[in-house]
């Protein structure tokens, strides 16, 4: 089997890594602060439609051109994700609605809201926008993109967002492990009562966690629509938000391990797209390969391989000094 196929599959896996890692980081901030967020898929959906619109709006309508148009467009997707996530925040933190209920509602509402926004954004087209939207200039990674034997293809013409996502691990890890803000955020998810007794406002940190989750998932969705596909299409998230949730769980809510699993699951998504003729794989229907991330996560959560341990207070309503 030629190396080029593997290299191209790797290149695709980097794209899916970006989507899964950004969304997973979103879930990480929310759940580490104590708010379970199964609405990641819905937050991504809002990111796709607003990102696709934002990129076009800033590039063409505002005439900013590249790279500022796509950059502002992606940030617009992140902003809208955060705004949409505030529904989850208000419901779970202020009104103490069950986190799962609210997350399901977020996913449901997102589908309808995306159509509604699309109708308004794209001249009455409710399920897709015009293809071929503007995107950031593609990037060859120095050194790696001149590897021999066809492997160079893996590191050529990548979206700069791939690098942004990969290096995101540094500030995220630093913020969560070294900054007072991150330590407090995590303690809200582990033991809110003790955190409160130190004079820290638990709801305030949880709001920040949930809004950040919306921003990351929204950015991820915007990347998917604007940078990967080139336009908005209904249903283009294809359950990637849930795969990101799976990666988050199996990585034990740790940003460094999340990198590995986001890439691994991204590679699983990439295999049916490119490696169908490889030995072993050609014997399996592609649908079975798509099941891999989910099966791996079930096995992990059932405790057959190690144990995953969620933040202790995640999913529980915090009653002290929260409501309005």
């Amino acid at each position: 089997m030629p190396f080029t196929d593997i290299a191209v599959a790797l290149q695709i896996s980097f794209t899916y890594f970006t989507i899964l890692y950004l969304t997973g980081l979103g879930g990480l901030f929310s759940e580490r602060s104590g708010i379970v967020n199964i609405g990641l898929e819905g937050l991504m959906i809002i990111g796709t439609v607003t990102g696709a619109f934002g990129v076009r709006f800033f590039t063409d309508t505002m005439n900013l051109g590249t790279p500022w148009g796509p950059i502002l467009g992606l940030l617009f997707g992140a902003l809208c994700g955060a705004i949409f996530a505030s529904i989850h925040a208000v419901a779970t933190i202020t009104f103490r609605v069950d986190h799962i209920v609210s997350g399901v509602v977020i996913n449901l509402v997102a589908v309808g809201l995306a159509r509604f926004l699309s109708y308004a954004f794209f001249n009455g087209q409710a399920t897709q926008s015009d293809p071929g939207g503007p995107h950031l200039a593609r990037l060859d990674i120095p050194l790696l993109s001149s590897l021999p034997g066809g492997l160079d293809r893996a590191f050529q013409s990548l979206s700069p967002m791939v690098l942004v996502a990969a290096f995101m691990v540094v500030p995220v890890w630093y913020a969560l492990n070294r900054l007072r803000w991150g330590l407090r955020l995590r303690s809200c998810g582990e033991n809110p009562e003790a955190t409160r007794s130190l004079g820290v406002s638990v709801p305030q940190y949880r709001y920040q966690g949930v809004l950040l989750s919306g921003a990351f998932a929204g950015l991820s969705g915007a990347f998917l629509a604007a940078e990967v596909i080139g336009n908005w299409r209904e249903g283009q998230t294809l359950g990637l938000g849930f795969i990101a949730l799976a990666a988050l769980i199996i990585s034990n809510w740790n940003p460094i391990r999340l990198m590995f699993f986001a890439w691994l699951f991204g590679f699983a998504v990439a295999i049916p797209l490119r490696l169908n003729d490889a030995p072993i794989i050609s014997a399996l229907p592609p649908q079975f390969i798509r099941m891999i991330p989910y099966i791996v996560t079930i096995v992990a959560i059932a405790g057959f391989v190690g144990r995953v341990r969620p933040p202790a207070a995640a999913g529980k309503a915090y009653e002290g000094g929260g409501g309005t």
Partner: protein, 413 residues
Amino acid sequence: MATDGLAPLVSAARSRPAWLEGLAGQLLALLASLGIALIAGSLLIIAYGESPIAVYSSILRYSVESADGIGYVLAIATPLIFSALAVAVCFKGGMFNIGVEGQYLVAMVTAAWAEIELGFLPGPILVVVVLIAAMLGGMIWAAIPGILKVKTGAHEVVTTIMLNGIAVSLLAWAINFPLKFSNAPPGQNVDLRTDQFPEGGLIGDIGHYFGATPGAHLSWLFFMAVGAAVVVWFLIRRTRLGYEARAVGSSPGSAKAGGVSIGSIQLRLFLISGALAGLVGMQQILADRGYLPQNYVVYLGFTGIAVAFLGQNNPIGIIFAAILWGILSRGEVALQIESEVPREFIIILQGILILTVVITYQIAKRRLAARQLQRAGAAGELEDSAGSDEDAGAQGPEITGREAFKGAGEGGV
């Protein structure tokens, strides 16, 4: 019954019985959220430059004022009743089955398999066999999270989310390989799907008895759904399993102390839930299409969760909630024909409705719990001052809130 003994004690402080107060609170919360949703919707309609009254009345005209409209509404409600019942059954036991989505996909595969492999059976028998195959498919898919929860403690929310993802691929595989159509009309570009099911294996239209158009695809399944709601009501309210399930759902600790085997109850609830979930897709493939298509309707499981909340997990309430949802959904057609407001407005309206319902129910529940606790405090410590009563009130939501979250939210996702 212990509760009967307690009842006079509690109602001594006030004349209204607790259940009536609960029902009134729920109805009030429902009306309030419906009102909020309609007002928010009105603002949107006004933003589009139309009259809210005209838009709302055209929605009603298209849904409940003609036999056709009613046929469409009930046909939309049919799968949602099954789906919401499946959610409610698990919820009574303090569990969250968000895997109805995956369970009905798997059930559509097993039902389609039965149609094609057992198509030689005479009509009525085939239908029964197919419905059983669907329920078994749903049960198998629901048994996995049930067993994993009981045996390993894996949280059912996580496992069912993952099983939903697997089910999507499983269905795609089924219609790509083993169940792929073989008798496609030549020269035509046919979407990926199964073969047409035998005529005798489909579920008959009942719309024509009421003068509704056959296009609505209102079938006997609607009555099956209503029957299922009655059965679920009976199961929860009148059987030992239902009683123990409610005990597990409201207080696992005391249920266990009372000798209830929590694991066995949870597993049985998941199996019942799966059987109900298995029937969700039948309206689509047995009454509407007559085959399993690639572009099947998705999100019926998630919508079922919304409908279950709208109906407050009460089987009879769920029937009405599903019909209300159907009226709104039918409104999409009304908007397309009679208004400049985009049809997507309906989905927004449904979204606002379910958001406000979830929040107002939560507020109503807490206020009720606080009041009941306060009253219990007043009955128990008559000689105490008003100050401690206020204390009890302030403490009230904290305790009840925790209990409420023990079931659904424990462990985190």
